[in-house]
């Protein structure tokens, strides 16, 4: 992997108005706490690393059982299957990791694996915070395809917040998906 890829990824994701935050593994807890401090609730998919959650001060909503084992947090009781209405409540944020990230296009790819959860979780809330580690960044789309552990899982490629080009062919951010996307790049 080229050492430039994570930087290119961050630059390209920023081009499409994702909020970009750089930190070390040691600083991650603090960065996440800050980004999520204004949320009314934070949705947590199964399998999210415990240390990402530990610093959060807002109420958590744990979704379902983890394919990689129980969520194992003492901070809140697991709720099996959050409903769309739960996720649609005002001020809800969702925190996830990703399967792969693509440098050329600034894209994060979720495959419903551990720490990512069902597709609905990253769709209905208005704010999505995604953690990307350097080692997850690949060069381009073809490399992403080969890096996927299982292409038949439900895949979502996300490049910036929800947007439309339907009015005068000018891109504007914020339609049906999350209107804010924050990407935390862990170096």
């Amino acid at each position: 992997m080229s050492p430039d890829l994570p930087l290119l990824f961050a630059e390209r994701a920023g081009d499409y108005r994702a909020g970009i935050h750089h930190c070390t593994a040691a600083e991650l807890r603090e960065v996440l706490a800050r980004l999520l401090s204004a949320a009314s609730r934070v949705v947590i998919p199964p399998g999210l690393p415990q240390e990402w959650i530990d610093g959060l001060t807002v109420p958590l909503l744990l979704d379902g059982a983890s394919p990689a084992g129980p969520a194992g947090s003492g901070a809140a009781a697991p709720i099996t299957g959050l409903t769309a209405a739960d996720l649609d409540a005002p001020g809800v944020s969702v925190l996830t990791g990703c399967a792969v990230a693509i440098a050329e296009t600034g894209t994060i790819v979720l495959d419903a694996g551990a720490g990512q959860g069902r597709r609905l979780l990253t769709l209905v809330p208005d704010h999505h915070v995604c953690v990307v580690r350097d080692a997850q960044v690949v060069a381009d789309v073809p490399d992403m395809i080969t890096a996927l552990p299982d292409p038949t899982r439900p895949l979502t490629m996300i490049s910036g917040p929800s947007a439309t080009s339907d009015i005068e062919l000018n891109r504007v951010e914020g339609v049906h998906g999350p209107r804010r996307l924050d990407i935390v790049c862990v170096h």
Partner: protein
């Protein structure tokens, strides 16, 4: 005006274009929008050093799909069935509409949410559902605009390209319940659509989608979108019905690598569109419980028999050819009388439904053969070549046929040609004398040349032809 299918021209292109040309607002909107997207596309394509190699590979993959269509369809059907989906085959629009209507009825739903899909527009699915008492709700912003305006789409990617922001604001104020915004900022208008549709999404039981790609190897379907309305439809309702043209297949999952680089850059001029969903059958606990895939032929296997015309089936509906077409830019999408407008529409509509249907035979002539479409096509469809092929195989007016025959009779004999040149020169001598003062061109001429002189002066035969000059200067 009644039409067989929304891909049959109901009027001669020249007539429709003349009417649309009269709409100054439309021309201003189209000119601004197509210029914006042309420039964006050029910028992001220039970033990709191996763009030409990508185009070549993608064209070869699609040609392989067209050549092995039955085999790949079987492979796709087996894979997606194994992944929990139910496959249906529709020979034509009527069958596809009947299948979808029946599936929606079985869910006892009286409305469906829809992802923008050219295949469902091609078959007139919305009209068929409405006739069955089912309300289709378009959730793509541009489709919503067109639906609220009781209008028809005029662009493949941006069906409401013929509207500008202030027209959209007025439309929302009139037709969208609860809309009160005074601003026509696109962000405000998009926000209004979000509010308007959110409750609908949360309550929807059945969704209908198309597919940008269908992978034979894995049975995966791919939906490329921007707004998130697609993701809503793909994950919230219990039942999902995908109407997929058979040419959407790709042999291998790895083929997506090239196509997902080509499509967004060609269509919206972005490195990548905001959201791409790839799903394989049904996943317990995530998304719909039931997935139906309706594989639509509707003329495609017939097109696949034509060795020249079949390249049109490579099309991935990016609409780059519309945005660079000087004819589309001026006439607009409605002039083509089909949900497939522009250069690709001019070769797709007449092939899918036949040149004898409606005024389809006029579409292959709706081009100057300038080649801009071929240059930008991500799958290298030689659109000018297919336009000429369709002209050569399509019906033609008797008078023109006779004129062309006599012209070629004159031209294929050296003596006849020389005499004809001389006759033209002699016959036009009085006109040359009359027009000398204004540069020797003709201001007004009788039919059929009046079609020329209505807009421009016509040249007159020269006082001395080239071959007479040559004889005088080089053979004496």
């Amino acid at each position: 005006m009644s039409r067989e299918l929304p891909i049959v021209a109901g009027e001669a292109f020249a007539e429709a274009a003349r009417r649309e040309l009269g709409d100054a607002q439309l021309r201003a909107n189209l000119g601004r929008a197509t210029r914006t997207i042309r420039d964006k596309r050029a910028r992001v394509v220039a970033e990709v050093p191996d763009w030409e190699a990508l185009r070549d590979r993608a064209a070869a993959v699609k040609d392989d799909v067209i050549a092995r269509l039955p085999k790949l369809l079987t492979q796709f059907e087996q894979a997606v069935t194994a992944a929990g989906a139910t496959v249906h085959h529709a020979r034509d629009a009527a069958q596809a509409n009947a299948i979808v209507t029946e599936l929606v009825r079985a869910e006892q739903a009286d409305q469906v949410v829809k992802i923008k899909s050219m295949a469902t527009q091609e078959i007139g699915l919305n009209e068929a559902l409405e006739a069955a008492g089912i309300t289709p709700i378009e959730t793509d912003l541009a489709e919503l605009i067109v639906q609220l305006a009781d209008d028809t789409p005029s662009h493949i990617l941006v069906p409401a390209i013929h509207y500008n922001r202030s027209q959209i604001r007025e439309l929302f104020a009139r037709r969208m319940p609860g809309f009160t915004a005074a601003s026509d900022e696109p962000a405000v208008l998009a926000g209004a659509a979000r509010e308007y549709l959110r409750r609908t999404f949360l309550a929807a039981k059945v969704a209908v989608c198309g597919a940008n790609f269908a992978v034979a190897e894995t049975g995966s379907l791919v939906i490329v979108e921007s707004e998130g309305n697609g993701r809503m439809c793909l994950t919230l309702p219990e039942t999902l019905i995908a109407v997929v043209g058979v040419e959407k297949l790709l042999p291998r999952f790895a083929d997506l690598g090239d196509f997902l680089r080509l499509l967004p850059r060609s269509s919206t001029g972005e490195r990548m569109n905001p959201y791409t969903s790839i799903f394989t059958g049904v996943t317990p606990g995530d998304g719909p419980r039931r997935l139906h895939v309706v594989l639509l032929d509707n003329g495609r296997t017939t097109v696949a028999q034509d060795p020249v015309g079949r390249a049109a089936l490579r099309c991935i509906r990016c609409s780059a050819c519309l945005n660079v077409c000087p004819v589309y830019e001026r006439a607009g999408g409605h002039a083509y009388g089909s949900v497939y407008p522009g250069p690709i529409g001019a070769i797709l509509s007449p092939q899918l439904t036949g040149q004898d249907a409606g005024f389809n035979r006029t579409l292959p002539y709706a081009s100057t053969l300038c080649g801009a479409c071929y240059d930008v096509c991500p799958v290298k469809i030689n659109i000018p070549e297919i336009l000429i092929h369709l002209r050569q195989t399509g019906p033609k007016p008797a008078a023109e046929r006779a004129a062309m025959a006599s012209l070629s009779w004159v031209m294929r004999d050296r003596r006849r040609w020389r005499l004809a040149l001389r006759a033209a020169r002699t016959g036009s001598a009085p006109l040359r004398a009359l027009t000398r003062r204004r540069g020797g061109t003709l201001h007004r001429a009788p039919w059929p040349l009046s079609a020329w002189t209505r807009h421009r002066d016509a040249p007159l035969p020269a006082a001395e032809t080239f071959r007479d000059w040559w004889r005088r200067t080089h053979e004496s």
